[in-house]
């Protein structure tokens, strides 16, 4: 027992970080196993103080636990677990150990069953034995009729390690037995040897059911080749087991070997973690799907916008802005200046443009649209800055003593907001136009359009120097 305890401790270590411990315990276990097997089919008895029946039940519990866990998880998960015991072990140390532990017992049982056909052994052995050979199973059946049935199912499952559903059923059958299982001390002894091998395999992670099967032979040294397969199946089942199975295992472990106990805890943790991972994965997959769809549509939208942005950038001269925001600001300013330019040019051409008329028109417009001008003032100046030549034009107007220059700008700004106003407003302005600075212009204006009455006021305004006008405008508007 001292050795076993040590072994157990080692096993625990194995489950955790280190695999090394397993080998030493393993050997002892093997020795024990061998001894037990050699001595009697009762090998289990020495190890397990509990009767054979107890041992048999234990596996069932595991199965039940597995089944419960599986019920939540579709067959796939169960199948996966069963198929990839090694993998599970690699992922979660605990799970693997448990699986490994389980298999070994089975192998032992099978052996024992072969030897004495003890009921306890039969339980474990049957599943194990059946896969390995019908002989053991039959013997176990003889031992206990009820047990045999369950065991047979288990065996089939073990044989079909791959078929998870079968396992589930078998596990169900096992569930009833599980309670007794804790008692079955015998099974534990066998597990230890197997466990070491399994642990090693787990370490390999890559090792699959086939690996486990190979291991069993090692453990088995015993005659039955089939037992290994059975052990593999059992291991898978163990991995699949839920918390319940773990609890049962713990009990079993206490009764049986330390290996079992250690493995169960780990298994429990592993199972829980695995379940959580699966659930989270399912949820995350749904979320990710919707997110992907959303991202796709969003991406398309952004692509479209980016495409337009690029086209816009090509249309805007000297636009080196990279980020969208500054690009759009640039576009807005450019659009305003373009509108301004068009207004000014259309004024020039539409009116046949003696510039002096512009000032007059501007004055009239100013009188009529103080508010608009005020609002627009900032805009036009910015536009002028943006477009040097426009600014130059304005300056030129001002320089010529055209008081309307400032007004012009504001007017243009207003025009920018209201595209149409320019021309409609123009005629009246022309009438006032006869501004003092350019007599010629005045004459042309008079010729072009009949001077409306009341234009006189506006006409006076132009005389004021541009700077003054600008200052005055605010006052007027305000």
């Amino acid at each position: 027992m001292n050795d076993t305890a040590n072994d157990l401790a080692e096993l625990l270590w194995d489950n955790g970080p280190a695999l090394r411990p397993p080998p030493p315990p393993f050997q002892p276990f093997k020795n024990l196993m061998r001894g037990a097997a050699d001595d009697d089919g009762d090998d289990a008895v020495p190890w397990l103080h509990y009767p054979d029946a107890d041992t048999a039940p234990l596996p069932p519990d595991y199965c039940a636990a597995l089944l419960s866990g599986f019920s939540d998880l579709p067959p796939h998960a169960a199948a996966v677990e069963s198929r990839e015991p090694p993998c599970s072990s690699s992922h979660g140390a605990p799970v693997v150990p448990s699986t490994s532990a389980a298999p070994p017992p089975v192998a032992k049982q099978t052996r024992t069953s072969g030897d004495g056909g003890v009921i306890n052994f039969t339980f474990f052995s049957r599943p194990l034995q059946r896969p390995s050979g019908g002989e053991t199973a039959s013997a176990s059946a003889a031992g206990t009729s009820s047990v045999p049935v369950e065991s047979t199912v288990v065996q089939a499952a073990t044989n079909r390690l791959r078929s998870t559903p079968l396992f589930c059923d078998q596990r169900m059958a096992w569930l009833h037995p599980p309670k007794p299982s804790p008692r079955a001390a015998p099974p534990p002894p066998p597990p230890p040897p197997l466990a070491p091998t399994t642990t090693r395999q787990r370490v390999d992670t890559a090792a699959t059911a086939t690996v486990t099967q190979r291991l069993p032979p090692f453990e088995a040294r015993a005659p039955d080749a089939p037992p290994p397969a059975a052990t593999a199946t059992t291991s898978s089942v163990c991995s699949g087991n839920g918390d319940r199975s773990q609890l049962k295992r713990r009990d079993d472990n206490n009764n049986q070997s330390a290996e079992w106990s250690a493995s169960p805890d780990e298994l429990d943790l592993d199972d829980e973690l695995a379940g959580a991972h699966r659930r989270s994965a399912a949820r995350s997959s749904k979320r990710s799907r919707t997110a992907e769809v959303h991202n796709l549509s969003e991406r398309r939208r952004r692509d479209r916008i980016n495409e337009k942005m690029r086209a816009l950038q090509e249309l805007i001269p000297n636009c080196n802005k990279i980020d969208k925001a500054s690009m759009l600001e640039e576009a807005i300013e450019y659009l305003k200046t373009l509108q301004l330019q068009v207004q000014m040019m259309s004024m020039g051409t539409g009116m046949c443009v003696p510039p002096m008329m512009l000032p007059a028109a501007a004055a009239a417009a100013a009188a009529m649209q103080h508010h608009m001008q005020m609002q627009q003032m900032a805009g036009p100046m910015a536009a002028a800055a943006h477009f040097p030549h426009l600014g130059a034009a304005a300056m030129g107007l001002a320089g010529f003593g055209m008081p309307g220059a400032a007004f012009d700008m504001s007017r243009l700004a207003a025009a920018a907001q209201f595209p149409c106003p320019m021309f409609p407003a123009a005629p009246p302005m022309a009438m006032f136009a006869p501004p003092p600075p350019f007599p010629h212009a005045a004459t042309t204006a008079g010729e072009q359009t009949p001077s409306p009455p009341g234009a006189a006021d506006a006409g006076d305004a132009p005389v004021v120097p541009p700077g003054h006008e600008r200052r005055e405008q605010p006052k007027q508007t305000s």
Partner: protein, 92 residues
């Protein structure tokens, strides 16, 4: 989780710029003649950008036409040097 967090961070930062951009796009929309007619409903930003491109092209065309006319005016009309200078400045 980290990826999700970073994503949310990105989206958060992009949201800020999104607001700015939507703001600018609405300003841009206000400058569009056809958009102004139906300013009640907001156009999708891609549409606004498309319309802006079209509008800028049309304005370019208009500027070209006007500059042509102005140059003709400049050539035909006997204007003062000041007027000519102004027109030239407009044509630049």
């Amino acid at each position: 989780m980290s990826s999700r967090r970073s994503r949310s961070r990105q989206s958060g930062s992009s949201r800020i710029t999104d607001e700015q951009i939507s703001d600018l796009v609405s300003k841009l929309q206000d400058l569009l003649p056809e958009a102004r007619l139906r300013s009640n409903d907001r156009m999708p930003s891609s549409r606004v950008l498309q319309e802006t491109c079209n509008y800028i092209r049309s304005l370019h065309q208009e500027v070209d036409d006007l500059s042509e006319r102005l140059s003709e005016l400049l050539a035909t009309s006997d204007m003062s040097s000041a007027q000519a200078a102004i027109i030239r400045s407009l044509l630049m």
